[in-house]
Symmetry: C2
Subunit: 188 residues, 2 copies
């Protein structure tokens, strides 16, 4: 999850951890922002694996033009860049369909990077997510007949139902678009 996100963002720009977090925040919505307690270990791990490397080592940074010698000017940020191995890892993580979790967060992340996928894989991603949500909705509809516990549980279930059907329509729209674009591409 996090590794995919980091690699994907570094594919576009070199970034340091703090900034990475912010970008991730408005990529997936503030609610899904990742914590530093996950981010920094993940960065260390990716660096150890050779997927990313420190581009601006501490002691070499900053826009300080005329600060004098021994002071070690902008000693703070660790700016990371992606390596060739990192790009390969990114593609691998993004592509592998098996066991790919399709929860809200993973799905959103993958969709955000969907431009790096082939049209077929992109469509597959959308369809698998659609299947998952459809199953949930069916399951929910099955239990809806029975009397639910209290008022609040009932409200929760209704909201869930609405939310699911809205997401399904949204996905259907996306899928239709994808198919249309696919046909268009073929005709060119």
């Amino acid at each position: 999850m996090l590794e995919l996100a980091v690699l994907g963002l570094l594919k576009e720009h070199d970034l340091h951890g703090y900034e990475l977090r912010k970008r991730l925040g408005d990529l997936l919505g503030t609610g899904a922002a990742v914590s530093f307690g996950s981010l920094y270990p993940a960065l260390s791990k990716l660096e150890a694996a050779g997927a990313i490397r420190v581009v601006t080592p501490p002691g070499n940074a900053g826009g300080h033009s005329a600060t004098m010698a021994g002071r070690v000017p902008g000693r703070k940020r660790k700016v990371y860049g992606i390596t060739t191995a990192g790009s390969a890892l990114f593609q691998q993580l993004l592509t592998e369909r098996r066991s790919a979790p399709l929860d809200e967060r993973s799905f959103s992340l993958r969709l955000a990077f969907a431009s790096y996928l082939s049209p077929e894989l992109r469509l597959g991603l959308l369809e698998r997510r659609r299947t998952l949500l459809a199953e949930r909705l069916a399951e929910l509809a099955a239990t809806t007949g029975k009397p639910r516990g209290n008022r609040y549980v009932q409200l929760l279930a209704e909201r869930e139902r609405d939310s699911l059907s809205r997401d399904l329509s949204w996905l259907d729209r996306l899928i239709t678009d994808e198919r249309a674009m696919g046909r268009l591409a073929v005709h060119n």
Copy 2:
């Protein structure tokens, strides 16, 4: 999170782990079902803390009417029941407003048990969740002006915006209802 859920469900019925998981599943939606890897350790912990206890010990269970003696009939389920201390813990976990996480799951869980809250605390719960979502929406609106990355990121952001405003309306409706019920109760 999980502890609150377990205690809340056991307040209504004695249950064993597997069944607990199912109930939790259709209480919060199948997507939010808890894993056994969290559930069983949580049960052990709660039992050790004296909040729950095994009601039907293994070796004593089952509807087997005429199975003979030494066979140890329904030796499988471990049915748990809540203790007095457990009820107290439940109230405490449900009530403590400070540091209560308001993410989707926690909120839904608390709302599902909202009947155990005083009208004031119930209203507070809804309002704090509302505030959170409103902040997110504002933040999102702020970044919406700027050009987003690719097409998919943009779609994701739009979806998020719609979803947030829907949830806000939903919450507003609930809040209004709560206030109305409060006034009604006062008039009786």
